[in-house]
Amino acid sequence: MKKVYPDAKAALAGLLKDGMLICAGGFGLCGIPETLIQAIRDSGVKNLTIVSNNAGVDGAGLGLLLESRQIKKMISSYVGENKLFAQQFLAGELEIEFNPQGTLAERIRAGGAGIPAFFTRTGAGTLIAEGKESREFDGESYIMERGIVADLSIVHAWKGDTEGNLVYRKTARNFNPMMATASKSTVAEVENLVEPGQINPDHIITAGVFVKRMIHVPNAVKHIEQRTVRKRVIA
């Protein structure tokens, strides 16, 4: 059972179809599966619904799929970084379903965990509650949210062994672990590919069972959206 594929195109072969639902890891441009996104763009697959906290920026991340107009709908919590998004949305070419960030994360986690629905206080009494079941528990109001199960998940990891066990680095973890669980077809790109046994099993974040295919991206390009720094003080 070989999980490692030679490149992103090969790893996605047979997994893409028009109109599908894709979970894409990352927060902003941090920890996004950029190589897999590029291969999805190159495939030409259309009418995608993409679950991702953000929609990339112009020219990077999911922004690539906006440019090529392959996205029909985004399920996100914040899309403020992307001018093209605003244009396509205002032109009626793009749908958006806003989810509170924690609700989005939990819906994905629930989908992967076989939980079809859960209750949360988040959004009770707001627009987000419209059309959703509300219920009181112990005197507080909650709304029911549904789990998300996707046709395909694409994630980015810092290191992975050939069994599909993954570890993430710093805040590049973000949405990747849940998204890895939320579909029956999860493809992971890893910056460092190692043999089984090379990662301490107590440190593994995503167990290999969740990863169907993987590629090695040793030279992954990483973007910084907001470069905030201190001046060095020369003593």
């Binding site: 927060f27 902003g28 941090c30 924690g102 959004g123 710093k170 805040t171 990483k222 907001q226």
Partner: protein, 216 residues
């Protein structure tokens, strides 16, 4: 003179306690980290999956894998831990974060908060704000008292809500209000900028509120 942004941040920092876990929103709340009293240890949470972070990195030390919820590069400190977004919001929703400081467009006297959308304008999204105000133990809003002569402290919010009955305290450039959002005791003005009259505050505030100034 009304309080400056720095003075508002300084006042907000007085709501912190030793050992607190704190989530700071963007804007003035970010400045609060500069006013944490000496000897007090607080851990800053970033909802993208980090607890315990330090200042911006030195030039050249930026790490694309190390950002805060505003997508800004930050630094690790000895107490830092990383976790997934699901675990991060489990922490927030489960009431494990002691205090959230955030900005607002409108706050109502019952604690309703609006800070994420203006109908008719392009909506960017609520990000983690709805989860924070619903889950964090104490929610403190830091904002200008009014905008373009329009009151922001209202009887009822006119903008779509971020959370219903969620705000515990509002710090503006003119004063400090507490809101008894759970007990239904309404809004109370508890501190005033020394250069601002009670009449001026009244004229700039649509919300009903009692006045019970604390000696400071």
């Amino acid at each position: 003179m009304p309080w400056t942004r720095e003075q508002m941040a300084d006042r907000a920092a007085q709501e912190l306690r030793d050992g607190f876990y704190v989530n700071l929103g963007i804007g003035i709340p970010t400045l609060v980290s500069n006013y944490i009293p000496n000897g007090m240890s607080v851990q800053l949470q970033s909802e993208n999956g980090m607890l315990g972070f330090g200042p911006f990195p030195y030039e050249g030390d930026e790490d694309p894998d190390l950002i805060n919820a505003g997508k800004q590069t930050v630094t690790e400190i000895p107490t830092t831990s990383y976790f997934s977004s699901a675990d991060s919001f489990a922490m927030i929703r489960g009431g494990h974060i002691d205090i959230a400081l955030l900005g607002a467009m409108q706050v109502a006297e019952n604690g309703d908060l609006a800070n994420w959308m203006i109908p008719g304008k392009m909506v960017k999204g609520m990000g983690g704000a709805m989860d924070l105000v619903a889950g964090v133990k104490k929610v403190v809003v830091i904002m200008e008292h009014s905008a373009k002569n329009e009151a922001k402290l209202l009887k009822r919010c006119t903008l779509p809500l971020t959370g219903a009955g969620v705000v515990d305290m509002v710090i503006t450039d003119l004063g400090v209000f507490t809101i008894d959002r759970k007990g239904g005791g309404g809004m109370t003005l508890v501190e005033v900028d020394p250069d601002t009259s009670l009449d001026e505050i009244k004229s700039k505030t649509e919300a009903n509120y009692r006045v019970a100034l604390k000696n400071r």
